[in-house]
Amino acid sequence: MTGRAVNNTIQTDDSPDLDWYIDRIVQVLMFIGGISAIVLIIGIFIFVTREGISFIFNDLDFAEFFASPRWRPTSEWRATYGILALIVGTASITGLAMMIAIPFSLGSAIFISEFATGKYKEYLKVLVELLAAIPSVVWGFIGLTIMNPLIIQIFNVPVGLNVLNAGLILGLMAAPIITSIAEDALKAVPDGFREAAEAMGATKWQVIYKVVLPAAKNGLLGAVLLGVGRGFGETMAVLMASGHAINLPENIFDSVRALTATIAAELGETAVGSVHYQSLFTIGIFLFLITFMINLTADLVVRGVKKG
């Protein structure tokens, strides 16, 4: 029988063979790859913490840091390090951005996943990916040169670099990212669910509303949270479009300043090791913790960890 010839090489003792070594080597390589990512993250965190730690222990006044809107690190007379205005700036921009981005993104994700078909669907997906790839400085540029005069003209306000401008820009930036992740979440809903519901006589919209969205809700929430994380971390566009003025905004036409933009704008002008330098790193730690928490929540939500 010819079939038996193949089996001649079967090994009967337990000594390692070539496949065994290759498997070992691949395992080690994978381990190094995985561990280096973790080491890198921890390394960055240690670096940022080390630069800011002396400020935290020696100069930081917690009440002033979180509750004072006065960020005057370079004052000759009396330097103050209050980041409240920066937190409010970042939060207001991100909040507005999400109010704009979430409905648009979920809408387009639903459209792409549930309604668009064939080539049309592929084109739309490529388009969304392209939008997501626009560098943030380009968005900032749009905010500065297009939105700024438009806002001044339409709303008849003195400055067009404000919460509205930065929120719009950030919303436009976050939308394609949220769309793309949300679309993945919808795509992951098995077609069997849709068919079962349609076979019951559910209309297209009923299928989406009653079956697809509930099934994808963790993924969708994750997409939104990642968008929020993106908003908190975004720097360049926000720096260019927000007006970069330390201010507790009263409405969306006030200029504000964001946490990230403050670091970007000031770090280059400080002496390494100075209190100002260290205070910027402390803001960095704060941002790091916030985005870490948002991403962690997003991750847990996507994996469907529930309360009970």
């Binding site: 069997g192 079962a196 076979a199 019951m200 006589g201 209309t203 079956v211």
Partner: protein
């Protein structure tokens, strides 16, 4: 209720389903051709045949799921209650009259309760008391109530395979269907549950018409009043189940398949 079409052939008005010269294609490939059959009200109509013989495609034509498959095209006529479904415009109203049970249980990502309450909700029943009543009645009829009555709020997908399949039957019943179509429902179900479901079907037959596509020849023998044999995209023959299983067949292939001498 729509009135029977004017041009319906006389016999279409007396049958639950009447199929004339049905042919199904996917792209240019013919999946099923030359099907002519009729299904009486309140009978269990069995369809047997090997994989890929066109059974599922056939079911998809009756509740017009071809509408969701861009590459699927059909010719011929399908009459349901004397109405031509191939020209039916509001497919949602057609599908609400036809319950479907799929080969692998599709527990929707909802609670047990909502799996069964969904269809009534879709058709506008929203009172909690009404829904409670429907859910309990359908779960009882699907022989599932006793096992799930304490966990109505847990996810349907957490039930065992056999329970999920009975859940899909309860869900199909919640539509109060006129026609129930089961597609190889026992494929992922243990023999004991299969027998329980078979008993349920015998009861349901009093109230509705059932099309039973099955991979188990004996299941057709146990349940079906009449049985059709599909092979390679054709309906080879159909007749009274007892006749077929007594060997009164017109085609040798039918006998070979029934007696397991196939392939």
């Amino acid at each position: 209720m729509v009135n029977p079409s004017q041009d319906a052939p006389a016999q279409a008005k007396n049958k639950k389903v009447l199929i004339e010269n049905l042919e199904i294609k996917y792209g240019d490939t013919v999946a099923l051709t030359d099907v002519n059959l009729d299904i009486e009200a309140n009978e269990i109509y069995g369809i047997i045949g090997p994989a890929n013989s066109g059974k599922t495609s056939f079911l998809n034509c009756i509740n017009r799921m071809d509408d969701m498959r861009p590459n699927m095209s059909t010719t011929g006529r399908v009459w349901f209650n004397g109405i031509d479904v191939t020209n039916w415009r509001n497919l949602y109203s057609l599908r609400r009259q036809i319950g479907v049970v799929f080969p692998l249980p599709v527990g929707l990502p909802l609670t047990v309760y909502n799996n069964v309450a969904l269809a009534p909700q879709l058709s506008g029943i929203n009172k909690k008391a009404d829904l409670d009543e429907i859910v309990e009645r359908c779960l009882r009829r699907a022989a599932l109530w006793d096992e799930v009555k304490d966990r109505l709020d847990s996810l349907g997908s957490l039930l065992s395979g056999g329970q999920q399949q009975r859940l899909t039957i309860a869900r199909a019943l919640s539509q109060e269907p006129d026609l129930l179509m089961l597609d190889e429902f026992s494929i992922a179900v243990d023999p004991v549950t299969t027998m329980r479901i078979e008993d349920v079907l015998k009861e349901l037959k009093k109230e509705m018409t059932i099309i039973l596509v099955t991979n188990l020849v004996q299941q057709a023998q146990r349940l079906a009043d009449r049985t059709a044999f599909f092979l390679n995209g054709r309906m080879v023959e159909m007749g009274k189940t007892e006749d077929l299983f007594a060997g009164k067949v017109q085609h040798q292939e039918t006998l070979d398949y029934i007696e397991g001498r196939f392939g």
